[in-house]
Amino acid sequence: MVDIPFDQVAGIPPAEVAEVELYHPHSWWTRYVFSQDAKVIAVQYSITAMSIGMVALVLSWMMRLQLGFPGTFSFIDANQYLQFITMHGMIMVIYLLTALFLGGFGNYLIPLMVGARDMVFPYVNMLSYWVYLLAVLVLAATFFVPGGPTGAGWTLYPPQAILSGTPGQDWGIVLMLASLILFIIGFTMGGLNYVVTVLQARTRGMTLMRMPLTVWGIFTATVMALLAFPALFVASVMLLLDRLLGTSFFMPTLVEMGQLTKYGGGSPILFQHLFWFFGHPEVYIVALPAFGIISDLISTHARKNIFGYRMMVWAIVAIGALSFVVWAHHMYVSGMHPYFGFFFATTTLIIAIPTAIKVYNWVLTLWRGDIHLTVPMLFALGFIVTFVNGGLTGLFLGNVVVDVPLSDTMFVVAHFHMVMGIAPIMAVFGGIYHWYPKVTGRMLNDALGRFHFWVTFIGAYAVFFPMHYLGLLGMPRRYHDIGETTFVPASAHDLNAFMSVAALIVGFAQLVFLFNLVWSLFKGKEAGGNPWGATSLEWQTPETPPGHGNWGKELPVVYRWAYDYSVPGAARDFIPQNEPPAKVLAQGAHP
């Protein structure tokens, strides 16, 4: 509670920083390829994640082509459709979003935002990326092995995941599980870095309650991921043993193709428990970094301090803790005890409280702010809208009685795409438009950015909003072809065709974004050190892009929180975190 006394005029002498043992690269290879610099690793993570994400995007086109125009495309059969679904989901959730938020944004922003020179274990950090790359390559290899990738659905439920009726039973499922195991090992290496860097490497004056919310979001998400991914690890190892060695962890006694299998007595529900013990926290592993990024974007581009900073931090922590006791709401139709369902429905609805606090705080930050409708701000607003939309349908599905009839319909697909597909990707785009100038020193093209936003935002609504209606009609998910049914009217088929066209257009808009990323690297407007007039430390680096070691000789000293925007009386409408009070006083501010 007590501040260290400081000289009003001279400020505080820079902290005495012990000589940091930074690894200094000696060659092109160690500088750009086997680099131990978190910034390079972040770019590597991002490029890899976006590359494999493009594969998932093409897969979604394939799925939409089949759904919109069934029977038209001879190269998509039922098996392939299932494989497309599986790989699309798996890639988007784990290999794109998780890797991009934690490996990409985490690596770049944590050391810069907390005023560190690098991650605390740079070598392990480098290893983390290479293991992740290996996991991606193993995943990509499944497209080329005999039988193709697995078509078990992204949840990989046994027994069907390893039975012969499911495509990819030979190689696909084995490589999929191996890839997941690798991913988890790689992530754990990175995750240890993110957590310990936040705990140990903050610069002088950077208390936890002065950290930007982005760091809070990534930090909490990493802690959750470290504790939740072991569940997927255990489930993957056990399923792999069932598949390869014929154990019966999950596999019940069953008849396959008229023959009794070697399996017996196992519990498919056990897999579901393990999977969703990971799977639900995973939703928030993706959402919390997005929450953090959006908070910072909104505050910066509305030139106003974030409303209710303390509440925002507490809400992040509360969501993180609560998300570990809601997993069985994904299993309402698995035949669980009704009291269990009641318990999990209650915890699920309780999560809505901290989440709603966050949404209100974003809106109240915008209230009477000086809103600059920059591209990052547009994406941040898009995030709020899509997240609220998806969150409200989550309240529907969180209730057992509503969930049971809607389970396995397109309503669920619409819900989770809105809340953890579109919304986090809006945060990703907003974040990229916001921090690209720091990473490259150049601005992304504004006109292309606006085009990208509007097509993506409206297009995503055109795809996923009508999907709720299809779900309410009872249209099932995961079906290759609905065929002739009485409950699906002809208009629903027209709607499906419309959604497919919209999906194609949204996909092409992402190509414009990729073009913008490359084009602006060479032709973009020079950004300067702090183009948005932001307060947090990453914008105060002596060089842009930040050099090796991030800061000059001395680490920055932090005097204030990250949200001093439009402080009455200050000369500028933002006060950087490392600006001494004496300097502000000299300019006549009354903070």
Partner: protein, 234 residues
């Protein structure tokens, strides 16, 4: 899932305690200047590697708690047939205890600048850990010969899986211990060695604790405890 829920609750309690020390009720918008940073005042003496190990142990703990959860769920199915544990397992347990004690001894020696004691402790600790691993492999072989193969019963499958994962973690520890020993061999100063040895020792004690818990599970001693937990939660 009671074991993992209990484990997460424990972690949450620790995290909550830690957060309660971090002035989360501060009003950063009213404060300027260098706020007192608890980490800076007293916590920074803890090296990053030690915190990193602590976080890693939480991850490993979560892994084994999940295995225990899966184990206790699977035992309730009708096809479960208990696996007779070979006596050698008890011998192995003793060897692992010796390994832990030896490393503790090495740590004490490192703190007292006792170079010879440190080397002896590290070598005895490492050798007995290797012996533990060999012993576990022999246990596998004995079980295999007796017809308790991996896939014949879920109890066997769990035994092999649990011992394999525990053994892998011991192997990983041996790599770290080997590196520390090589460092000492090359004449690293005692001040540097202390941290390495301390980290290894913490990890060894943790793996011993995990092994004792797993042993209790595999011998059925914890059945009663698990039953109580299950009754509490259902």
């Amino acid at each position: 899932m009671s074991a993992i829920v209990l484990f997460i609750a424990t972690i949450a309690a620790i995290a909550g305690w830690w957060l309660s020390q971090q002035r989360l009720a501060a009003k950063p918008w009213l404060e300027q200047g260098i706020a007192v940073d608890l980490r800076g005042e007293r916590g920074s003496s803890v090296p990053a590697a030690k915190i990193g190990l602590g976080v890693f142990l939480a991850v490993v703990g979560s892994l084994f708690a999940l295995l225990i959860s899966a184990y206790s769920m699977r035992t309730t199915m009708v096809d479960w047939r208990e696996l007779p544990l070979p006596r050698l397992v008890w011998f192995n347990t003793g060897v692992l205890v010796i390994s832990s004690v030896a490393l503790q001894w090495a740590l004490t020696a490192a703190r007292h600048d006792d170079h010879d004691g440190l080397i002896a402790g590290l070598l005895v600790g490492g050798a007995s850990a290797v012996m533990f691993l060999i012993g576990q492999l022999v246990v596998w072989q004995q079980l295999n010969i007796a017809g308790y193969v991996m896939a014949s019963n879920p109890a066997n499958s769990f035994f092999y899986l649990i011992t394999a994962l525990h053994g892998l973690h011991v192997t990983g520890g041996l790599v770290a211990l080997g590196r520390a020993t090589v460092k000492l061999w090359r004449g690293a100063p005692m001040t540097q060695m202390r941290l390495s040895v301390e980290l290894c020792t913490i990890y060894w004690h943790f793996l011993l604790l995990v092994w004792l818990v797993l042993l209790g599970l595999l011998t059925g001693w914890t059945d009663n405890f698990v039953d109580i937990c299950r009754q509490l939660l259902t």
